[in-house]
């Protein structure tokens, strides 16, 4: 076992430690949470965290939450969640956006603040809903309407008419947000297929990984592993209790998966509806403290945030290569080898995307040429990866997923007694994140 030197050493009192976490059940979009906004889900997660931990909200010095689908009504959704959850108005909150690793950013921001003694207690997490996307009118119509609003005098009626004349029927179409890159117009699914083309992941490998994700999530749920982490949600006016994720499917089999048609590349594609993460609504909230404060308030640290790496690559060919772009750098920096890592939590955007990244991680040529490292990380043992299921099965409310991954990794460290965990994910724009957690008790 190698000793590690954290990049900033302020003594262990200021180690950022994860002490507890919750999330709302993750639900498929347009289903149970159809009447809730990201603000609603976020405040439910925050109040659920207070209920679970018994923390006095007055203690919280910073809240940071990730979101991807921004509702213009709540442009700083984290702040509205904090106020709506009944926190004191004196708790500041900001929203971060880094696509699917938004709450990873929230977490590492807070970890730095704690290490640098800026704060002692923070909450990170994220919230997203795809059930109520902000649909816009076309840019031309929008501008015309703003101008119309500025014409006040009735005698300017001709101006109204001339303005309206410039509009074409196509301008009446609605602008629905897509899960696609702004810079190149390619969807995430297309990005996954590009990755497949570069790494040679097969359809069978992909289906098999998807099946694995579902069966592990179903098993974990049936063992009650998530029970204490899920905030029961009751939606007005019916208040039916939602206390379980609706993503994991017990009936997922290789046969059934094999029958599905490729979703993005109809001819030779690998990713299908069954092996891609689906649109999900949900929120997560995780409590982080300095080790000193946790001791003072009587909370047991579950994991120390040791270090992290963000990296970015080409927005098209490396759209989903985040783990491959970051994990090797994180391990190298901390002089850790693949054998030192006991817990892996890797975001599952697509089954083929996870497999492609794992292939890159053991590819010496990729390590040398893309990252300038001597050799690759090596084979990541699958039995240590996402053993309670992943985004493919549990679901992926974009901004909230990082909170789920980090809290899951912390809990797994405790349960399995391992020492190190790596949490990694990819994000639109060719981003990647890898975070190193250490078990304070190991």
């Amino acid at each position: 076992m190698t000793d590690i030197q954290p990049s900033v050493d302020t003594g262990s009192d200021y180690d950022p430690v994860i002490v507890d976490g919750v999330r709302t059940p993750f639900m498929r979009s347009h289903k149970a949470y159809v009447d809730l906004s990201a603000y609603d889900l976020g405040r439910l997660a925050l109040s659920g965290l207070l209920a679970k931990t018994g923390l006095d909200a007055q203690e919280v010095e910073q809240v940071s939450m990730g979101t991807v689908i921004h509702d213009p009504l709540t442009s700083n959704v984290a702040r509205e969640c904090v106020l709506g959850a009944g926190f004191p108005a004196t708790v500041p909150a900001y929203t971060v956006a880094l696509a699917c690793i938004s709450s990873n950013v929230a977490a590492t921001n807070l970890s730095d603040m704690i290490r640098l003694k800026r704060i002692d207690v923070g909450i990170f997490g994220g919230t997203d809903t795809c059930s109520d996307p902000p649909i816009r009118i076309s840019s031309k119509l929008r501008k015309a309407m703003v101008k119309l609003g500025n014409i006040k005098k009735p005698q300017d009626i001709m101006k109204h008419l001339s303005l309206l004349q410039t509009l074409r029927p196509s301008d009446m179409a609605l602008d629905v947000p897509k899960v696609a890159e702004f810079s190149n117009g390619k969807s995430m699914g297309e990005g996954a297929e590009i990755l497949v083309q570069q790494t040679g992941v097969t359809r069978e490998e992909s289906d098999s990984f998807a099946e694995r994700s579902h069966s592990l999530a179903v098993k974990a749920a049936s063992e009650g592993i998530f029970k204490d982490d899920l905030v029961p949600v009751q939606v007005p006016p019916k208040f039916v209790t939602i206390s379980q994720d609706d993503g994991p499917r017990a009936d997922t089999t290789m046969e059934k998966l094999a029958k599905l048609r490729p979703a993005f590349d109809k001819k030779f594609g690998v990713a299908t509806a069954g092996s891609s993460s689906f649109l999900t609504d949900g929120a997560s909230a995780v409590l982080m403290m300095s080790r000193k404060k946790a001791k003072e308030l009587g909370y047991a640290p579950k994991a120390v945030v040791r270090d992290y790496v963000y990296n970015a690559g080409d927005a098209l060919s490396e759209m989903l290569s985040g783990p491959a772009l970051t994990i090797p750098l994180l391990l190298e920096k901390n002089k850790l080898s693949v054998e030192d890592i006991d817990v892996w939590e890797i975001h599952e955007a697509f089954a083929c995307q996870v497999l492609a990244n794992l292939k890159y991680l053991k590819d010496d040529q990729y390590a040398r040429e893309r990252l300038g490292l001597e050799k690759a990380v090596g084979e990541v043992p699958l039995e240590k990866v996402n053993v309670w299921g992943g985004s493919l099965s549990i679901g992926h409310p974009f901004g909230a997923t990082g909170g789920r991954l980090l809290w899951t990794a912390a809990r797994r460290l405790q349960q399995e007694g391992g020492r190190y965990a790596v949490v990694s994910g990819c994000a639109a724009g060719g981003h990647g994140s890898a975070i190193l957690l250490e078990n304070p008790d190991a």
Binding site: S47, G84, G86, Q234, P236, P237, K238
Partner: protein
Amino acid sequence: MEHQQQGEHAADLLLPCLTLKEKDGVALITFDDKDAKVNTLNSKLTPQFEEVLEYVEKSSTIKALVLISGKKSCFIAGADIAELQAAKNEAEVKKLSQSGQEFFKRLSKLKQPVVAAINGSCLGGGLELALACDYRVATSAGNTVLGLPEVMLGLLPGAGGTQRLPALIGLEKALPMMLTGSNVKAEKAKRIGLVDYVVHPGGLQNKALEVAKALGEGKLKVNRKRKTTATSLLESVKAGKRFILQKALQQVESKTRGLYPAPKGIIEVLNYSVDHPDKGYLKESEVFAKLSQTPESKGLISLYFGQTDLKKNRYGSPEKPAEHLGVLGAGLMGAGIAMISLQKDFHVRLRDIGFDQIANGKKYIWSNLAKRVKRKSLSRFDAQKVMSRLFAQTDYKHFEECDIVIEAVFEDLDLKHRVLKEVEECSREDMIFASNTSALPISDIAKASKRPERVIGMHYFSPVHKMPLLEIIVTDQTTDDVAAAAVNVGIRQGKTVIVVGDGPGFYTTRILAPYMDEVAILAAEGVDFYTLDDAMMDFGYPVGPIALVDEVGIDVGYHVSESLGKAFGKRVSSGDLQILTELVAKGAKGRKSGKGFYLYQKQKKSVLDRFVGKKSSKKPINPEVIELINKMGKKTSKPIDLEDVQKRMYLRMINEAAYCLHDGILKRPLDGDIGAVFGLGFPPFHGGPFRFVDKVGAKKIVDDLKRYEDSLGERFSPAPNLVEMANSGARFYPE
């Protein structure tokens, strides 16, 4: 520098409660009665005000005035009621009213414009003062309320309010304010024209000074032209005014059953003023004086003093005021208690056995909040905040943080023992356990406790958010600090709290039982249900007894009658419980089950009914009850006298109340009066059962009781303390 020095100069006129500072031609007049929490118009403040007026009248440099309070949350809370009570007779009261009118007239006739800068409560005489000013600036603070609550004391606004308010905002808007005593907040006051400008609290003084300066220099002209509407046109002619007042009188008659003279007096003054605009003020003070001498006003004022008295915690401040509340049971009571507590910023953990129960509790809270959101008395965001702050759970996790746990589980002693033991297992040693039982003796519940001295009763009334009373029950073991903490919680929840001793049914349930017993007997005798309800509503109860049994629940009524019957015998429960048991067996448990004595099916209004605004007729009677009564064969053929019905009903309640005082359940008559009025709807204008005895005379009450004892049986046997008082001529309250 010079500018600053000017701003800092000492007061130009310094009186005990008033200061006047003049700057740039504007006099800032700050009033602050340092000996009291709130400013009231009394014999201390008024003469000082007059001195200030004199100063202003003589001044050649003052061009405008600002009136502002030095208190944080009160402009002027009203006139001093105690001084009003001290007036010996009608003539003296009339003089008081007229001197108030004179003073406000003098203020309104000042050559300088006057700006009222209003923050906090501006009520009664306080609003009349503001109305006499030329301009009103009010703050948007939540506690800024304007209103004329005199009617709730059986009075009318006697210092010009009946004249100035309609003149300013019109009859249509002024009538509801005067007739119901309802408050309006700043935004609404602006909408109806009662205030001219709304300002953030931090900017009140500056804005008022700015407005006053502009008014004084003639740069600002007040334009209060109202929109022309159908009603404003109607109000512009005498006949129209008379029509509006006649409609209002009809409404008052139907709502108050003619029992409350004050609203009628207000309409009388307004009617007179239509034809004699110059004599309106005189009429106002005449009717004010007349109303002040009515027993109704005296009863209501005694209640007001009682309520004010109960706002103080008689046990003093608790060592550690509770912040964290646990509530067990998410039924209507538990959810209601959780809701009012959350709204007063308590931390609440609501526990029930399953998520279905919790969901029902949440639904109940949400539907109540949603109603307020709809009425715009609560913002959607604040409602969501209340819901978010409710921690509902199926276990006792974190109950160690609870300072007090209130159980609202089913009325079953074994169950109460079980939850008490459970919660003691996972709570701090200094946790207080409160039971929301309505009848089970607290000492019986405390038997299961490791710390019986920390067990207390907190009896809320349903629906919790509407009923103002909280009956706290202390046992021989309960420590004073525990009682102090419980009373403190109740007061902070906004409740009127009475403290009573322990025993079956405590106070309120115990005096309700014989009242209900008598209604069952009367029903069995064949008295029509509508007649029974009407008789008691004519006596002044807001709800008739038959409707009340249905509301409380027939099963609950049965339980209470049975257990209290065992404890107190025929005096409390002499009636045959057969009618109740058979109804419960038939599933008729009252309103909650859709049928009780009445049927509660939702009646569909036809389109035509809705169009003509036809009110739903009386609730249909449940035919099963009629059948039962016929079967029981206790019907009497004797014609029943309405006064007899009323007396038999209220005498049994009053007699039992006297017993409660005699037995030491009540420490003093005041708690009994407040409890009966705010918990059971005893006619407020009678001031409560003890005030009623004082008013009628103990002798008369005892005579009536004895007469019924002879004819109807021992259940009317008068309480020993009543008999004693009848002989000695003593009273419950000093005269």
